[in-house]
């Protein structure tokens, strides 16, 4: 018990240091690193953290999170667009547009979450993947909202226009909001019930908990968080098209969560950093061109990374690091059974709550 608390505070210390580094980064980092690499890392990290939340606390692996990310973007584009652009061209105030976009995201995740709320595991994964691809075709085919060409020339609110560093702080704020929010939520009665449902849905149902309702609400919360990342994305990008929510990006987001380890919230941002940095800097690595890996073959590298991680450690890089650390501590490298680990973590959480 003692060591568990120690480790927990060590983890918190590391988080505080990371947060300080993120906040101070614009003072020292290069413009490119802050405005391109880190903004994208934080945005994708927030979106991926919603996958991790659903997976770690709800036992649901959702591939529809990039859809929620995209819906928020498309809705903002339709709401703020003015005459001359595509979409509905409502010409609303950008802040009203944010409220509208998030409301639509919540509604969409309520419907989709409820539809899939009676399944788990592999069924949940393929159903949410199907929703994501349907969403891609939806925004492609329904030209009133977007069409395959997408929406362009969408301005962020005037505060952020031409101020990428401010946008960076928005993304950092969203990250803190998502991370702290998810961790706090996991200790509320709702969060505890959700974890109970993850471990034994039949038992929780017989205790009187409404299992589908809890799953649906968890999906709505995750959708909302992914939606906020989508808002930041459209402000940063200024455009969105269906390709950005097609099957490729859908899998990319899952891959980010997998690299980080689908049971560690922190892993989402870590995975996002590896993904974005790899995308930006792979060509600079020495010797990679000699073994036939060029920038154009980035997907091969990412795919191979996923396969290797899954072969070595299904809990991703965080899980691998945790295992090595635990092994060093106990003097030997012992691979703990994942189910056992989840149980341990649940006990730990229960003890600390």
């Amino acid at each position: 018990m003692e060591s568990a608390i120690d480790r927990l505070s060590g983890r918190n210390l590391l988080l505080v240091v990371t947060l300080a580094a993120v906040l101070l980064l614009p003072l020292v980092g290069s413009e490119y690193f802050v405005e391109f690499v880190m903004v994208r890392t934080l945005m994708l990290g927030v979106a991926a953290s919603s996958i991790v939340f659903l997976s770690a606390y709800g036992g649901l692996v959702s591939l529809a999170q990039i859809l929620m990310f995209g819906i928020a973007g498309f809705m903002i584009g339709n709401a703020v667009g003015e005459a001359g652009s595509k979409g509905l061209k409502l010409g609303w105030n950008p802040w009203v547009a944010v409220a509208f976009a998030l409301a639509v995201v919540v509604l969409a995740s309520l419907i989709l979450g409820a539809l899939s709320s009676r399944t788990t595991g592999i069924y949940y994964l393929i159903q949410t993947l199907t929703y994501a691809v349907i969403g891609y075709y939806f925004f492609g085919q329904v030209t009133a909202l977007s069409g395959f060409g997408g929406l362009t020339g969408i301005d962020p609110p005037p505060v952020f226009k031409g101020h990428p560093v401010r946008l960076y702080y928005v993304c950092a704020g969203l990250s803190v909001f998502a991370y702290v929010g998810f961790r706090l939520l996991s200790r509320t009665p709702f969060g505890m019930a959700l974890q109970g449902i993850r471990d034994d849905p039949v038992r929780m149902a017989s205790l009187g908990f409404n299992v589908p309702l809890h799953r649906t609400l968890a999906f709505v919360v995750a959708g909302f968080v992914a939606g906020t990342a989508g808002v930041a994305n459209i402000w940063w990008n200024g455009q969105i098209d269906p390709m950005s929510i097609s099957i490729g990006p859908t899998l990319d987001l899952l891959i980010i969560a997998v690299i980080g380890g689908v049971s560690y919230l922190e892993g989402a941002w870590f995975g996002a950093f590896i993904f974005v940095a790899g995308n930006n800097y792979l060509r600079n690595l020495p010797l990679v061109e000699h073994i036939g890996i060029t920038e154009a073959r980035f997907n091969t590298v990412i795919g191979a990374l996923v396969v290797v991680i899954m072969l070595l450690s299904p809990e991703g890089v965080s899980g691998l690091a945790g295992r090595i650390l635990a092994g060093l501590r106990s003097g030997r490298l012992s691979g703990k059974d994942p189910a056992q680990r989840v149980e341990d973590e649940a006990n730990k959480k229960g003890a600390s709550a």
């Binding site: 899939s116 997907n299 229960g350």
Partner: protein, 358 residues
């Protein structure tokens, strides 16, 4: 743990008695079906095809389109559902196998005909289509078995891990195929002997579509015979029901897994060549055909061959009906109809029409 047990009523949820629920469920299904029939028969005057009462030929064409595309969907998704049924592995690289097979067959057909482009259907004999089909399907099947033996054999039972491994493989395959086969759309050419039109109720109809349906029926019948009339099929059906028991009876289940994966990948390959002939293939077609297969198995129930037939028919029909019977101006919103069908099925049967609760 300090968890308060929450009462269902106190959450404000209305508890519906089972009898009412059942009636509600059947109403949820029957009312939309009735409305669709009414719309197609009498009301859909504004739709491109017109009402079925005044334009029976159009309806016949839609039904033919639906049936023939359902045939293709069945072949494409049967492998996915067969593998899942026995091994609980969702092969996310299924779409990649489909695309891979299509590319191999096209290359092979081009070298058999001796032309790189502008192949006329009259240059293509029946053998110039069937031989590439079989060769490509066997290559893809062997590839599938290799994939299973190297990556999936030793972690059998960890379904999420296996799914993510096959996902990683599909990303690699898509990228490598883009590198080797290029980014342009390619098309397999139907044999000249079946490329003509015939008349049905006053409408011209392509024989190639019926040929596709015939090929699908042959695949379906052979699959049925294999699963229901052979010893291996019997073992597979037993394995679907109770894997541990099959193992305990001294049957080498690892070998059975390998064979099942071979057949599943072969079906993907077969479907891939049909898809390449029917619609052509390009990078991205892997995702598209994976989606088609997933929709079919979600509707029909993952792991059930009967479900794959039902899912293909329902999905194929809705895809064929969308451009004909949706109101004008909305004719290309087929995706909304697809989602409606999917939502309707999931609302009533969360694991699909023939799916089993875990």
């Amino acid at each position: 743990m300090g968890v308060d047990s929450t009462d269902v009523e106190s959450l404000g949820i209305v508890v519906i008695p089972p009898a009412v629920r059942r009636r509600l469920a059947s109403a949820v299904v029957l009312v939309p079906i009735l409305l669709v029939i009414l719309w197609v028969l009498f009301l859909g005057e504004g739709s491109p095809a017109g009402t079925a009462v005044t334009e029976p030929g159009e309806l016949a064409v839609v039904i033919f389109n639906g049936l023939t595309f359902a045939g293709l969907l069945f072949v494409v998704s049967a492998g996915l559902t067969l593998i899942f049924g026995l091994m609980r592995t969702v092969n996310m690289a299924h779409g990649s196998l489909i695309l891979f097979s299509g590319y191999i067959a096209i290359d092979l057909q081009q070298s058999m005909v001796g032309k790189k482009r502008n192949i006329d259907t009259n240059d293509v004999g029946l053998l110039d289509w069937i031989v590439p089909l079989l060769v490509a399907a066997v290559i893809v099947a062997v590839f599938g078995v290799l994939m299973q033996q190297v990556f999936l054999r030793w972690n059998q039972g960890e379904d999420m891990r296996q799914t993510l491994i096959t996902l990683g493989i599909s990303v690699i395959l898509a990228d490598q195929m883009l590198a080797h086969f290029g980014g342009l759309a390619k098309r397999m050419v139907w044999p000249g002997a079946v490329t003509y039109f015939f008349e049905v109720m006053g409408e011209r109809y392509a024989m190639t579509r019926l040929f596709m349906l015939a090929a699908a029926v042959v695949v379906g019948v052979v699959l049925w015979l294999w699963l229901n009339r052979t010893r291996m099929g019997m073992i597979i059906r037993a394995g679907v029901d109770d894997q541990t028991m099959v193992r305990a009876l001294g049957i080498n289940i690892t070998l059975v897994f390998g064979i099942t994966f071979f057949v599943g990948a072969f079906l993907a390959g077969f479907g891939g060549v049909m898809a390449a002939s029917f619609a052509g293939i390009a990078p991205g077609a892997d995702g598209q055909w994976l989606l088609h297969s997933l929709v079919v198995v979600i509707i029909g129930g993952l792991g059930s061959i009967r479900g794959a037939v039902a899912g293909s028919l329902l999905y194929g029909m809705s895809l064929a009906a969308a451009p004909a019977y949706l109101p004008k101006g909305y004719a290309y919103y087929a995706i909304i109809l697809t989602f409606a069908v999917l939502a309707l099925v999931l609302a009533v049967r969360p694991h699909g029409l023939f799916g089993r609760e875990e």
